[in-house]
């Protein structure tokens, strides 16, 4: 009844989906945050958007992607990115922006240009915020990846949905329990990394 191979397969699909989305979102969010540092209009638009979109249930976001992009892997990744790119952006942006003016001023005084200030002062300061953003988004990516199975992206969600349609509770659990374990492992590993980083500092 419960085939380990199917489960492992599903886990693999799930992880791949979630983390590709995370990776792409990070690559997109960071440049956006940097651009927003110097363009107030962009910053305010994105911030308002971020707050708005966060309020919308993930399920609705996933569903809306279907009429626009169809079903399958690509729309699924798009849905996840939609969900996590804005919080990533917001955290990175705030981390880069909220550096004490004293430091920026003295850096300018020594003769650093904008790029150098960005690299040597803003980024180090922003690490904790960026890290928190990534942790937050990883959890959400994990959650949304489950939902995207509803639109044919495979993964653990598929097991859950199949189980639901057939009222097959055990089957549902074969999807749900691994998902839960992954989530807990995720949280634990992030906390460990967090401790490592703060120890080094």
């Amino acid at each position: 009844m419960i085939d380990i191979n199917i489960i492992l397969n599903a886990v693999g699909e799930h992880l791949f989906l979630a983390y590709s989305a995370l990776f792409i979102s990070i690559i997109l969010a960071i440049p956006l945050a940097i651009l927003s540092l110097y363009n107030r209009y962009l910053a305010s638009v994105l911030l308002v958007l971020a707050n708005l979109v966060q309020a919308i249930p993930s399920f609705a976001v996933v569903a809306i992607v279907v009429p626009l992009l169809g079903i399958g892997f690509k729309p699924a990744i798009f849905a996840i990115i939609l969900r996590i790119i804005l919080p990533l952006f917001k955290n990175t942006f705030t981390g880069l922006k909220d550096v004490d003016f004293i430091y920026i001023d003295s850096a300018r005084g020594i003769g650093l240009n904008k790029m150098e200030i960005l690299r040597h002062i803003r980024f180090p300061h922003a690490f904790p915020a960026i890290f928190a953003g990534i942790k937050f988004s990883a959890v959400i990516a994990n959650s949304v990846a489950i939902l995207t199975s509803l639109i044919g992206a495979g993964g653990l969600g598929e097991l859950i949905f199949e189980g639901l349609t057939n009222f097959n509770i055990p089957k549902v659990l074969t999807g749900a329990i691994p998902a839960m374990i992954i989530a807990i492992l995720l949280d634990v590993s992030f906390s460990l990394i967090e401790k490592r980083i703060s120890l080094e500092n």
């Binding site: 249930p57 609705a60 279907v66 994990n142 959650s143």
Partner: protein
């Protein structure tokens, strides 16, 4: 076309079902969450443990949480409400705890020196000053609950999740887009009410 979808999918009724579930869950969440925060505020060791456990529950995908309750609570309304509560207690409890413990020392010192007992300090100083933060936590809880209740539609709890599921099964673009957008609008409206409450409390009790 919108009206068509509205009627055939009974969006009116579904909206009411949806909002009622959110409302009921919220009442319970606020009550339990704030109580937990108050209970923990002067019990440091216990608070670390409890908040950590709640934190772990947070990382579990909402659907998974919902589904895992099924063997115990069946389908429909009950697991949906319980899942919403479990998921959304953390922001309220944590914000209450932080709000109560991080009141500026000078106010606590004045209160103690005036001859206020610990309980009186809790009610007249800590809680009022923590209200803005608690409101922020409740606002987050509202967003989470809206999400879980939407998912509840998948396990026959009623609410707006149902029509979306129908739309996906029938591959009917109209149903999906209209219901999806409606959920989005509803969510933003509810959140802005939450935001308004937060701002008002900040003005009255905030001290920046």
């Amino acid at each position: 076309m919108i009206l068509n979808v509205w009627k055939t999918q009974q969006l009116g009724i579904k909206t009411i079902e949806h909002l009622s579930m959110v409302f009921i869950a919220l009442l319970i969440i606020i009550f339990i969450g704030i109580s937990i925060g108050i209970f923990l505020y002067n019990r440091r060791n216990l608070s670390d443990v409890v908040l950590n456990i709640l934190n772990v529950i947070e990382t579990i995908p909402e659907l998974v949480l919902l589904v895992i309750l099924m063997p115990f609570l069946g389908i429909g309304f009950r697991p949906t409400i319980v899942a919403s509560i479990l998921y959304s207690i953390l922001p309220v409890a944590r914000n209450t705890y932080v709000g109560l413990t991080q009141v500026d020392q000078q106010y606590l010192e004045s209160a103690r020196a005036m001859g206020l007992a610990e309980k009186e300090i809790l009610w007249h100083v800590r809680i009022p000053l923590a209200l803005p933060l608690i409101a922020a936590g409740v606002r987050i809880a509202i967003v989470f609950t809206m999400g879980v209740v939407t998912l509840g539609g998948l396990i026959a709890a009623g609410g707006l999740g149902g029509p979306i599921q129908t739309g996906i099964h029938l591959y009917d673009k109209n149903i999906i887009i209209i219901t999806g957008l409606w959920i989005g609008i509803l969510a933003v409206m509810v959140d802005s009410i939450g935001s308004w409450i937060e701002k008002r409390l900040n003005r009255r009790y905030g001290y920046d």
